[in-house]
């Protein structure tokens, strides 16, 4: 070997050793954090006292608190028993109570009744679980900024147990699904986890944590941590660097901190980038009333919501394609582009999947539109029109679409069906943006003449399951409703065949007149 060669080979192996050590420690630390987090679920007893009931005053009505008086002095070691007793006491006093109110009552009563080590050291446990897991992840991720040379890093993905539907992937998926089921339908069973977030919640919004704060915090933290991973992986690609910063900004500032801050000021709070119909309760009576009743600021938010949904969204989509929203701004897209990136290759590319996709996403859109029409009719007729149905349809939508589809399937299925299941098959705003993108937009993915070698990297790594190659190998531009413009096809193409770009809206479909094109 020449001296340069020796220098190079020893240099790189030396570094790789350090990296491996860091990464192993990071992984171990991450697991400890996760274990502490999960085991917190089982920590503590539940003691109902005068004080614990009082602590729920802001959330639970005085009559219900009254109904729980007989339980004062009781200590439960099992959550299940405690909840059963609370339930029956409430039901006895108010047999008409609906599931929603009963759930809220149970959640707060139990949360405030939690006692023990965890309750006394919530911040410590928070550090030991959530923060430790984040630190572990960073130890694992930061070396990736220095590992190897910048460039596409997809080695051995299909041999990975996590990323190719192996045992680890199935475990991750199952945990995600379990988490979402608890979060949406059984939040009273995760009160100890929610407790961990009390100190941060007080710090940020001066309110006790509820399950949505827990979710928002974890969501944001995940996007930041996995966003860093994305930045390391795509450190050679400025499109992805800027896009990832945009995602982190919108999640951290606009979706998390700003609404929390508004809550602190007791102002109507809203994620200002959440457009209708993703925001499917926008036109419900309670939402309109709460905004309209919230003074000038509430009215501003209402008007902004309308402007965003019906002017900003379509106009920007005309100029830049739906990517400006779906992979630069949106929270669901943000999680998909960060946490979901390792799973993008799992999306189905078949023609059949495309047919299913078009059917299902447009069905959800129709569902959302019908529901919204009912909401508006109901609201503007002062509750006379669709009186009994509006609420039920809302319920059905939020259960089926809002929770089951967007949450459980949308994220829980990352390790099974790729990271854009919701965006591809369900999201009604993606459907609208898609229609604009397909029919009238300046956006397209240009195919570079005859340079395609049909290798399939672009299709494989398309999270939306677009068979990009089918177009590229014919020299055709890619104009598809579903494309969210993540830019990965262009990045993985080994022959420089694809470019996301905006050009004149006409002639997007034309084949270049080149003899080299197939």
């Amino acid at each position: 070997m020449t001296p340069i060669q020796i220098m190079h080979s020893t240099h790189s192996t030396h570094n790789e050793d350090h990296f491996r050590l860091f990464k192993t420690i990071g992984l171990a630390v991450f697991f400890v954090g996760i274990l502490v987090f999960i085991s917190s679920l089982f920590l503590g007893d539940y003691q109902i006292t005068q004080q614990s009931l009082q602590a729920s005053e802001d959330r639970v009505s005085a009559e219900r608190l009254q109904a729980l008086q007989p339980l004062i002095g009781t200590t439960f070691s099992s959550k299940h028993n405690a909840l059963a007793q609370i339930s029956s006491a409430i039901r006895a006093a108010d047999p008409q109570i609906d599931d929603y109110n009963l759930g809220v009552t149970k959640f707060w009563i139990l949360k405030n009744a939690t006692t023990g080590l965890l309750k006394e050291n919530t911040f410590f446990y928070f550090l030991l679980s959530v923060i430790l897991a984040a630190v572990g992840s960073l130890l694992y991720i930061v070396p990736q900024f220095y590992e190897g040379l910048p460039g596409i890093k997809h080695n051995n993905i299909w041999f990975s147990t996590a990323m190719a539907r192996g045992a680890v992937g199935i475990t991750i998926g199952t945990l995600f699904i379990g988490f979402y089921v608890l979060l949406y339908w059984f939040p009273q069973y995760i009160v100890n986890l929610v407790l961990l977030f009390d100190p941060v919640s007080y710090f940020i919004r001066d309110l006790p944590a509820d399950q949505w704060f827990l979710y928002g915090f974890l969501y944001t933290l995940t996007i930041i941590v996995m966003g860093l991973r994305m930045l390391a992986k795509y450190r050679h690609s400025r499109y992805h660097i800027i896009r990832t910063f945009s995602i982190i900004f919108f999640q951290l500032i606009i979706a998390f901190l700003l609404p929390s801050f508004l809550e602190r000021l007791s102002l109507p709070s809203m994620d200002l980038k959440n457009a209708w119909p993703l925001n499917y309760y926008f036109f419900t009576d309670w939402h309109i009333n709460s905004l309209w009743g919230g003074g000038t600021f509430g009215q501003f938010i209402f008007i902004w919501g309308m402007v965003l949904s019906f002017i900003v969204v379509p106009v920007l989509t005309y100029f830049y394609g739906k990517r400006w929203y779906c992979s630069w701004v949106c929270g669901c897209g943000g999680l998909a582009e960060t946490l979901g990136d390792p799973f993008r290759q799992l999306s189905n590319k078949s023609l059949r999947a495309w047919k299913v996709e078009r059917f299902s996403i447009h069905s959800v859109l129709i569902f959302a539109v019908v529901m919204t029409v009912m909401q508006i009719a109901n609201y503007s007729s002062d509750g006379a029109l669709f009186a009994n149905y509006t609420w039920r349809v809302n319920q059905a939508y939020s259960f089926l679409i809002g929770a089951a589809f967007a949450g459980v399937v949308g994220t829980g299925f990352y390790p099974f069906m790729g990271n854009r299941v919701w965006c591809r098959f369900g999201c009604p705003i993606a459907a609208i943006l898609g229609i604009v993108q397909r029919i009238k937009s300046r956006f397209r993915i240009t195919t570079n003449g005859g340079q395609c070698i049909s290798c399939g990297n672009c299709s494989t790594y398309c999270e939306m399951g677009i068979d990009v190659r089918a177009y590229a190998q014919r020299g055709e531009n890619i104009v598809r409703a579903s494309c969210v413009g993540c830019g990965v096809c262009a990045a993985v193409c080994p022959r420089g065949v694809l470019r996301l770009e905006n050009g004149p809206a006409e002639k997007r479909f034309n084949l270049p007149e080149m003899q080299a094109v197939n």
């Binding site: 060669q5 400025r238 070698i453 049909s454 470019r499 050009g503 080299a516 197939n518």
Partner: protein
Amino acid sequence: MEHLVIIGNGITGVTVARHVRKRSDKKITIISAESEHFFSRPALMYIFMGHMRYKDTKPYEDWFWEKNRIELANDFVTEIDTDNKTLILKAGAKMQYDQLVIATGSVSNKFGWPGQDLPGVQGLYSLQDLQLLEQSSKNAQRAVIVGGGLIGIEMAEMCLARIIPVTMLVREKSYWDNILPQRESQLITRHILEHGIDLRCETNLKEIIAGADGRTCAVITDTGEEISCKIVGLTPGVSPNVAVVKNSKIETGRGILVNDFLETNIPGVYAAGDCAEIVTPEDERNKIEQLWYTGRMQGKALAKTLCGERTEHVRGIWFNSAKFLDIEYQTYGFVGNVPREGESSFYWEHADGRMCLHMVYNAENHQLVGVNVFGIRMRHNLFEKWLSEKRTLAYVIRHLRQANFDPEFFTEFEPEIITHYNTQFPGQKLHLQGRRGLFNNIFA
């Protein structure tokens, strides 16, 4: 119904079949031995590296063939009887044809090295080669790649992906300098070294030796050095696969001899793609082009001929592309490894040494002859246009930004390039015209 039989389901055979189907109702059968369905040969490396599964490399879904009434026979043709228009298949079965297209591809070269048939020694061409490599790569402590072309560097990258250290033995002074001009060759050479590949230039293989288990255990180079290794990749190029026509009346040279219409000496029998050798006038060397793009273009031209519209294959303005580890390469027009007479060149290299632009032009009238570009993507259609319009170097440099095909937000190097140009040609003060992106192309 007329029966078109195609031997070989590679890009050439499949392109013929698809385009014939677009134009006619003929019965079409593709016979191929390697795989049931068409896959992308250039993607072989990505299967081994775990970027894709085999099925991801298939450009068409499996229902495609039946839907387009293209019959697939996973079989091997042993003989062609042109007198009776009959093929003999491996199991002895026969198949009649009216038109025959031979698109049998290539085979890896071997140059008679001692030990070249040992287990652990292999080329990289087929799916079967991939399986072989899979087997030998278990517990391999080193791989030695012999031959520094495109397939050699791919094999090296494949081994690196599996954390197998690689030594490359290359006959040339620096990597691929029989094709690339010196500075580009050195740029890639540096990149190979920075990936930790032990590149030995001006070194040849002398022999491969076996261990006690009968498998490869080391190579000996012409400098007498012994390098122990479990894998030996032989990648000194490929040759047309003419085995199937050897005992027929179809004429062969190095490949199957055809004219510009891809017709062989036997009426109704055609050859295209890697296996074809296009006979050219007297003094020029016959053309064999073992490229994906060539197979595709020939396949398309041949389909017209087969459907009654006799069409010449025209390669048109040359283009090609490749990727060397992390560095992408595109070329348009002609750039030789040494300048031809009457040619001058303009060369820019980025300070990081991983990007460069090399333009060759006619010294007299300054018309662009060809461009090599590393680490920057360029628009194929614009370069094809500029080359066919015989634009000058200055014109192309001025409009270079419009040809840039890098993703949005990527650093623009055109200002640096034009400054470099202006210092090299002090009499000229060029300014960049237009912006990057599509709006220019249409309004400029």
